[in-house]
């Protein structure tokens, strides 16, 4: 079953985090990515740019509305998405626990309801 591990954490201000700490985090994410890959469960892993780079698009009120900024302004923002394919929730929680982002933020574990695979939505 496919699960999304959604990393949420407070976005640091510029210069708030020292280069040493950034290097450590990159090291940890590198090891995490390799672990997911070698376990054969990784579908994709994306760490997102900071929220000021976000553009929000909607046609909900009729015409196209393009807006600067994220959908919801919150203290903690969506920071990255890991898509994995594992047998059950226990396995997904196990991977979420190992995610470096869990050390300073929260990981939302969400099962995928349907995915577009080989030209169609899975049932």
């Amino acid at each position: 079953m496919r699960y999304a591990l959604l990393m949420h954490y407070r976005e640091p201000a510029e210069g708030e985090i020292s280069p040493e700490v950034i290097a450590e985090a990159q090291e940890a994410f590198g090891a995490y990515g390799r672990a997911l890959e070698s376990a054969g469960v990784l579908l994709s892993a994306d760490v997102l740019a900071l929220t000021p780079a976000t553009t929000t698009v909607t046609c909900r009120e009729g015409g196209l509305r393009v807006q600067d900024g994220p959908f919801a302004e919150t203290k903690e923002a969506l920071a990255g998405v890991f898509m994995i394919d594992v047998p059950d929730l226990d396995a997904a929680i196990g991977w979420a626990e190992k995610c470096p982002g869990a050390q300073w933020g929260v990981i939302e574990v969400r099962p995928v309801a349907t995915a577009f695979v080989d030209g169609g939505w899975t049932s």
Binding site: M1, D88, L89, D90, I93, V109, P111
Partner: protein
Amino acid sequence: MDELTSAARAADIAARDSYGRLLALLAASTGDLTAAEDALADAFERALRTWPSQGVPRNPDAWLLTVGRNRLRDQWKSAHVQRTVSVEADPVHVDDLDLDAIPDRRLELMLVCAHPAIDHAVRTPLMLNTVLGFTAEQIGRAFSMPASTMATRLVRAKKRIKTTRIPFRIPDRADLDPRMTAILEAVYGAYVIDRATNSEALHLAEVLATVAPTDPEAHGLAALVQLSAARAPARIDGNGCFVPLADHDPARWNRQLIDRAHEHLRAAHAQRRLGRFQLEAAIQAVHCARREGPTDWPTLLTLHRLLHKIAPSLGSGVALAAVTAEVDGPAAGLAALDVLLAEAGEPAHRFQPAGATRAHLLDRLDRRAEAMAAYEDAIALTHDDAERQYLQKRAAAL
């Protein structure tokens, strides 16, 4: 317990055992508890229709399981192929199925009910509903909650188990300990909601000890619930008045339950790993030993000290103070209680056992004015009618 109620109770236990075992087996493959419940309900309904005319099958559980499985396959097919195919159970071959050869998957079911992804508050109701087959209405009554609210919570939890795919599987050794603790807490939750009769908790604890025979705390919890339930008949006198433990007539205790509890304590002891529930059960066992002679207060004090050390709570602290009073005198008990209350702060002043114990100790020290005020506070916090009347009687006697 007379012959009839004993037989009725045995029949009820057998029916609930079958229900939990069958539901666990039907749900384990798909993780869909609701579908499994529907299939099992269909099987029971078909049994009621056919058994009276065709006779009860040699192995009723195997018959029910086969019909339930067919029904599940039926549902599955109709969902996928969009047509309904009725698959009747074949009564000829069903008897060959040996249910005892099929693994008991109730531990997996209990693990699912107490999974970390399931809200704490719904774990105990979910167990009572799926493992023992109690209805939302019965569980709602036990939790003082409208049946519809309880039903909504149960439905939501089952949907969550299915959509997030919580596995029906026993986790690795490293993960098993915290998961067993969660199960024990959920079963203990059934005991706490109704200490007076405990019929649900009695059965749930017995099931847990059956499916986790090497877990000493499972046996400890079963013993605890049984020893407490064994004294229930002596807790209320002929006039419906509350009787404190010290004044119980041991002849009114349920001997069978006490004997069964001691079997569990021996099984727990054989595992040589002490825990909170075993200690609580040991304390109850010492109280129950009053059948044979005077209460062994020094042993109780040792046990209460250990319990308060490994699982400190307001309750364990108040109990320790009460036992200290029996061994070292009411002044020592009151001093211990007041230290505890000062440390615990505000919540302690709304804790009924603390108020009742304090009133009782002041009463014994003949500090009448303070005792009167303490009784009044305790009475205001008491929800149990019989116990409130007892406290009012004590206050009036001052």
